[in-house]
């Protein structure tokens, strides 16, 4: 993973400092999901060839989660944002 991730808290760092948390998914809320909705939430990913929103955890840094917009074809992170809540701010 030889690319940089611009941590909103620490600045640009090597991707090796981070743990990948997967695509940003919409968690089923409200009414109970159907079997299909649940299994697609648990086991299926978009795997977009191009920019996609992803979770990254700065394990060797601030220990916080961030959301990165990464181009999966180039392996380059285009933009990052702090994730919400007191922990993200």
């Amino acid at each position: 993973m030889p690319f940089l991730v611009d941590c909103p808290h620490c600045g640009p760092r090597e991707a090796t400092e981070f743990v990948y948390g997967g695509e940003v998914m919409k968690r089923p809320t409200g009414r109970p999901p159907s079997r299909r909705e649940l299994s697609s939430y648990l086991y299926f990913r978009e795997n977009t060839p191009g920019p996609q929103r992803e979770w990254w955890f700065h394990a060797s840094g601030c220990g916080r989660w961030l959301i990165a917009n990464r181009d999966t074809r180039k392996g380059a992170v285009l933009a990052t944002e702090a994730a919400g809540g007191a922990e993200g701010s």
Binding site: L4, F57, A86
Partner: protein, 916 residues
């Protein structure tokens, strides 16, 4: 010193009078400080340094710049070292590679003499295929014959250790020749942070041996004075999406430059002619390096074979260094070389224009060459001339060393005027400087048609892999007519030089066979690493983080046997795990539980947050009360377990397993980030030490040390208290994984040792330390599972006999709820149960559960319990066996043992002792 050392000359790198001793194949040799292994051997040693890969033909120094395979040797037990660039050091043990029994008599040379019909191109796909059953025999022979050296010692032994260093720079300049040094000066003068890496013996590149060493030194000094970080000698290994690793001895610099300047120059190219692999045939550049930098005579009488003025210049430099030049053979027509001929004539050197070197003669080294006119056809005719010589200096033009640029995304474009591929369409942030961009040298041009041929089989186009022009012809005839196919079939360009010396000759050779030009044939893909690098350098040091408990010094003082448990160094046992566990049941024991994950979860939303991450209810927990909790994934699978203690309305103290703490912290913070709640999590794992005081007499041990009322009524089970114990502030939790009365005492790490010693010194009771192994026995007696030992990625709380931990009647959503609802309806495919077996039946963890002779489950934990006088364990079994008293078999060492299911804890099943 030997007669092959030249008189002192300008720009030499050796320090005369400072001798260095080393051995080559066991014989003591001497070189000079500043020598490379190769130059020292060239001055004073055998001319043949190695045997070729396939035919075991003798090979001598060729490029003298670390590019070609000819001087690979073993140094101090490490194979694959390039002798021509490796600095000589005192006491080095140098050995040849690839010849048996000795370098001068190589039995495998028979492959070249008689075996050639059996080693056609792609022979490994053809010759050794039948009969199939003999393949193991063939393989053994082939492995012995091929390859480049063998490793000494155990394969697991690490011999190379390098540190990794990350470096961000405004500009990285790769190559320290004129163009690189000038680029570095230009960049640093703009106020940029510049790193320059160069792989040569000194900065200056070609200036060092082409008469400009004074200027090279001046430029190098200037670059250093301006504050450029110089890495020299150091090799850039490739382009990895903007990261350029640079290897410098025991250090790998992981450099990420904002901009990259590639000034890697151009690589002198060989020409193919019969006998072009004989020792004594060298690149003119290599011969000059040897003569100028190390003052070693590359030969006594030289013939220079060139396609351009560079060879003419080389002839004049060799002459100036005191080497007799018999003639210069120039492929250019006589009318183009008049000026050169004049310059050479002044030194009495004959230029033979419009000619080609038709053949180099000799067996263990070149002794003469035959020259023919390019117009007289392929066969040496009446115009053929024979010239005696022991050195053929070849100058076949230069090919841009553009691998790094290609990897970064540049295109290789064929330039007809020089017959080379030059980089074009460079990506943003990357620039090339100097001859890597294909600057045309005066008088340079492509190799004229007819100068190179096939002739017999001795025209080598790829020295590394012993591929001849004839082999290329055969491959093309078999249909492998594209360069990528021919490469894979012939293995040409796949050897140690990685195409530097053979990419163009191979392309030209294919072009001749297919009747096109090299531009049509194209190049193979440039892949990293560019330079040969030991895997140990890439691996770096093993960074295995080790954690020690706050009580580590106490364990060692007590003489505990220490053991690794995950990243933690734990006290395994003190005087015997069985006795320690028994003492806990009879009296009292003290167990270090500091490695547990310990987190403070605080904030107005803390209670709601915990309700959403745990399947049970925690918002209803009263302050200073404790509840057990299991974390599950969204798929409803058990992730970790631990306890939650509410300290006040908005503050919870959460513990996790030792191994799961990092993952749990990551998990909890993830959901906080997702939900954006007002909660903060503080990791106290290292800040607090913790110990479990357990046993029927633990209350008696604790009471005298504290003013707190620790009586059964004032401080009942699953309650918490804060206060001083032995004078230090503590959080005391009445819980435990042991079937006895117990207190888990948490205190700042600095006080942990004091508290531990004070409790063990109790006058009232005989408190003894109990180790990790005793802890494992004790928890098993209570049937407490350990997540990820007794569970796996398929285990739900329903299968693991923990259905009560899931509260599906919770009014709101929680992690894993949807999956758990479905799991609650389905029958689990297998269930976790306790089992007992006779005490003398040792059962290994991981053994198969056997029902009717077929495997039906597995044992995940098993120990002998002294207090129960039997073997106890946990196993996953089919649901119909998860009934009290059910029987199943366990496969163990070829026999089947009988085990009986027990669904409640083996010890203290009602929990009376624990709640006492």
């Amino acid at each position: 010193m030997s007669g092959r050392r030249l008189p002192e000359g300008p720009g030499e790198l050796i320090r005369r009078g400072r001798e260095i001793g080393f051995t080559f194949d066991g014989r003591v040799r001497r070189g000079l400080d500043g020598d490379t292994i190769g130059s020292a051997l060239a001055a004073n040693g055998p001319r043949v340094l190695s045997r070729s890969f396939k035919y075991h033909r003798p090979r001598g120094l060729f490029c003298c710049s670390g590019q070609c395979p000819n001087c690979l040797v073993e140094v101090n037990g490490s194979p694959g070292v390039r002798a021509c660039t490796e600095p000589l050091r005192e006491g080095m043990r140098v050995r040849h590679l690839n010849a048996w029994p000795s370098l001068s008599f190589d039995a495998m040379r028979a492959v070249d003499r008689v075996g050639r019909p059996f080693t056609p191109p792609g022979f490994y796909y053809k010759t050794f295929m039948r009969p199939r059953r003999l393949w193991p025999l063939y393989e053994r022979g082939l492995r012995r014959a091929a390859g480049l050296g063998r490793l000494e010692g155990e394969p697991t032994e690490r011999r190379t250790r390098a540190d990794h260093r990350s470096r961000h720079a405004d500009v990285l300049v790769v190559g320290g020749g004129r163009a690189g040094l000038e680029a570095a000066i230009e960049e640093v003068e703009q106020g940029r942070d510049v790193v320059l890496a160069d792989e040569g013996p000194a900065l200056g590149g070609r200036m060092l041996w082409e008469g400009s060493h004074v200027e090279a030194a001046r430029l190098a000094e200037r670059v250093a004075a301006l504050g450029v970080e110089l890495l020299s000698p150091a090799a850039a290994l490739g382009w990895f999406d903007g990261l350029v690793p640079v290897w410098q001895g025991g250090l790998l610099h992981r450099i990420r430059p904002d901009r990259l300047v590639v000034a890697t120059g151009a690589i002198p190219q060989p020409l193919s002619f019969p006998g072009n692999d004989l020792p004594g045939v060298m690149l003119s550049d290599g011969a000059l390096r040897l003569a100028t930098l190390y003052a070693v005579r590359p030969g006594h009488r030289a013939v220079v074979y060139t396609i351009d003025d560079e060879g003419v210049d080389a002839a004049l430099r060799l002459d100036a260094a005191g080497i007799e030049v018999a003639a210069v053979i120039d492929t250019r027509p006589a009318e183009e070389t008049a000026g050169s001929a004049e310059r050479l004539a002044e030194r009495g050197i004959e230029l033979i224009g419009g000619s080609t070197l038709r053949r180099a003669h000799g067996r263990a080294g070149v002794t003469a060459v035959t020259v023919t006119s390019l117009h007289s056809g392929r066969v040496p005719g009446p115009t053929a001339r024979r010239i005696e010589c022991d050195l053929v200096a070849v100058s076949g033009g230069r090919a841009p060393a553009a691998s790094l640029l290609m990897q970064a995304g540049a295109r290789a474009t064929y330039r007809e005027s020089t017959g080379t591929f030059v980089p074009t369409e460079l990506p943003a942030g990357v620039r090339g400087a100097g001859s890597v961009m294909g600057e045309e040298a005066p008088g340079s041009g492509p190799i004229p048609a007819g100068a190179e041929g096939r002739d017999d089989g001795r025209c080598f186009v790829c020295l590394c892999e012993d591929v001849t022009a004839k082999d290329v012809g055969a491959a093309v005839a078999e249909g492998f007519d594209s360069i990528e196919l021919a490469k894979r079939y012939l293995t040409a360009t796949m050897g140690p030089c990685q195409g530097r010396m053979c990419q163009l000759p191979t392309a030209r050779s294919i072009a001749r066979e297919t009747g096109t030009d090299a531009g049509e044939i194209g190049t193979t893909t440039a892949r990293p690493p560019i330079a040969a690098v030991p895997l140990g350098v890439i691996a770096g040091r093993q960074h295995e983080p080790g954690s020690r408990s706050a009580l580590d010094a106490q364990h060692r003082r007590l003489g505990a046997e220490m053991d690794w448990a995950g990243i933690w160094r734990r006290a395994y046992e003190y005087e015997g795990a069985g006795a320690e566990a028994l003492h806990v049941h009879r009296e009292a024991g003290l167990i270090d539980v500091s490695p547990l994950g310990k987190f403070l979860v605080q904030g107005p939303d803390a209670a709601g947050f915990l309700d959403r991450v745990y399947p049970n209810r925690l918002s209803t927990l009263e302050p200073m009360r404790i509840r057990y909790g299991v974390l599950v994934t969204e798929a409803g699978r058990i992730m970790d377990d631990g306890t939650v203690c509410r300290l006040d309305d908005e503050t919870f103290y959460v513990t996790t397993t030792t191994g799961g703490s990092a993952a749990v912290l990551q998990w909890l913070r993830w959901w906080l980030a997702e939900w954006g709640l007002e909660v903060r999590i503080t990791d106290l794992t290292g800040a607090l030490g913790a110990m479990n005081l357990a046993g029927p007499r633990s209350r008696d041990a604790l009471a005298p040390l504290t003013a707190m009322d620790v009586g059964a009524e004032a401080f009942p089970y699953l309650h918490a208290r804060t206060g001083r114990v032995a004078g230090v502030e503590c959080l005391v939790l009445r819980l435990g994984f042991v079937g006895e009365l117990g207190y888990e005492i948490h205190t700042p790490s600095v006080h942990a040792g004091h508290l531990w010693r004070t409790i063990l010194a109790s006058d009232e009771t005989d408190v003894r330390p109990a180790g990790l192994e005793a802890q494992r026995i004790l928890r098993l007696e209570k049937q407490h599972l350990i997540p990820s030992q007794d569970t796996d990625s398929e285990s739900t709380p329903y299968g693991a006999a923990l259905p009560w931990i899931v509260k599906l009647d919770k009014e709101h959503d929680f992690l894993g709820r949807w999956s758990l609802e479905r799991a609650a309806e389905a029958n689990p495919a297998e269930k976790l149960v306790g089992f007992t077996a006779p005490r003398d039946q040792a059962v290994e963890e991981g053994s198969a559960v056997v029902v009717d002779g077929a495997p039906a489950g597995r044992v995940t934990s098993c120990r002998v319990s002294d207090v129960l006088e039997q073997t106890v364990g946990l196993a996953w079994v089919p649901p119909d066996l998860a009934e009290e008293g059910a029987q199943f078999g366990i496969s163990s060492n070829g026999t089947v043992l009988r085990a009986t299911v027990t669904t409640s804890p083996f010890y203290d099943p009602e929990g009376d002792r624990q709640r006492a």
